[in-house]
Amino acid sequence: MKLDKNLLVGIISLLLAAVIGILTAKGGIFTILLVTFLFIAAVAGAVILFSFVLPAFTGAGADWFYYLPFAVALLLSRAVFGWDLFIPFAVAGFFAVTLDIFSRRDKKAKHADIFIVTSGALASVVFMLISLCGGILL
């Protein structure tokens, strides 16, 4: 069975971030797992929705290598600098992945730049709302 490196990196990054978050951040196990799960659902939901509504703007696939640096940064921030944060790393990581998905759109589509920044801004708002619903005040 051939392993999909991209998917593997995504799973490892998410696990790394979730484990560090659970072990160190103040949010608690349930909250951090809930936030991580809801973020994945939000990314998947946004892609499915846009693929129906605006198929010309939605690219195929996501590059999970965009999430990996944030997981590494989360580890370093805790281990070296003693930070006690989880949510900004998770939000920024999913924001980067979402941005990558939408930037894989058809380059010739009209108003593509405006679409990218709008989708990015909407993604930020959705992630923040999910975080708030998850019980964590950003």
Partner: protein, 202 residues
């Protein structure tokens, strides 16, 4: 600077604008702000001095947010120290963007592609446009009494990283683990910059 910007626009054959007046310059800046990764291919990404305001403002507002938060609970914190911290933030912002540009340059050397340092520096700077917006919101919330330095402050800088990563991938052509390594270095540079402001003891 304005004249130089117009000259760059006129020189740019790929530019859709007609290069006439302020509207064309505004269109170029808008493009640089919303899609810095794509802007690397355009010549107007060389407008580095105009773009320097974005990382500087981002870190300045972040530092101001931290300073105001300290003033609310630390008796030794005062207006002078807060202003000094904001000034340090200004320098740290420029320094962090420069370090990221250097990382991008070396990433280009590793990938075998010649990265135009000036253009990449411009892209990194304009990537911080979204950060400036988030930091402004954070500062407004702080003035309204909401503790937002650890959330909007850190999140704002990290949101800019998402655009920096796109620029890095676009400029160097790196993919996979090598891309992740250099991207992580950029993230570490941002964390170091923020740590300087968070743990500055004056």
């Amino acid at each position: 600077m304005y004249i130089k910007g117009l000259r760059l626009l006129n020189d740019n054959k790929n530019n859709e604008g007609n290069g006439e007046g302020f509207a064309a310059l505004k269109a170029a800046l808008l493009h640089l702000c919303v899609n810095p990764a794509d802007a690397y291919k355009k010549r107007y990404s060389e407008l580095v001095f105009a773009g320097l305001m974005f990382p500087c403002i981002s870190f300045l507002f972040f530092a101001l947010n931290i300073g105001l938060e300290r003033m609310s609970f630390l008796s030794s914190a005062n207006e002078i120290r807060t202003m000094l911290l904001a000034f340090i933030g200004l320098i740290v912002g420029a320094g962090t963007a420069a370090v990221m540009a250097v990382i991008g340059y070396f990433a280009g050397r590793v990938s075998g592609q010649s990265v135009d340092g000036t253009r990449f520096f411009g892209c990194v700077e304009y990537s911080f446009a979204i950060s400036a917006v988030i930091e402004t919101v954070g500062l407004v919330l702080r003035l309204a009494g909401v503790a937002s330095s650890a959330s909007f402050g850190v999140l704002g800088i990290f949101a800019a990283l998402a655009f920096v990563f796109k620029s890095l991938a676009s400029a160097t052509g790196l993919k996979g683990i090598m891309f992740a390594c250099f991207a992580a270095l950029c993230a570490v540079a941002a964390i170091v910059g923020m740590s300087i402001l968070l743990f500055a003891s004056f």
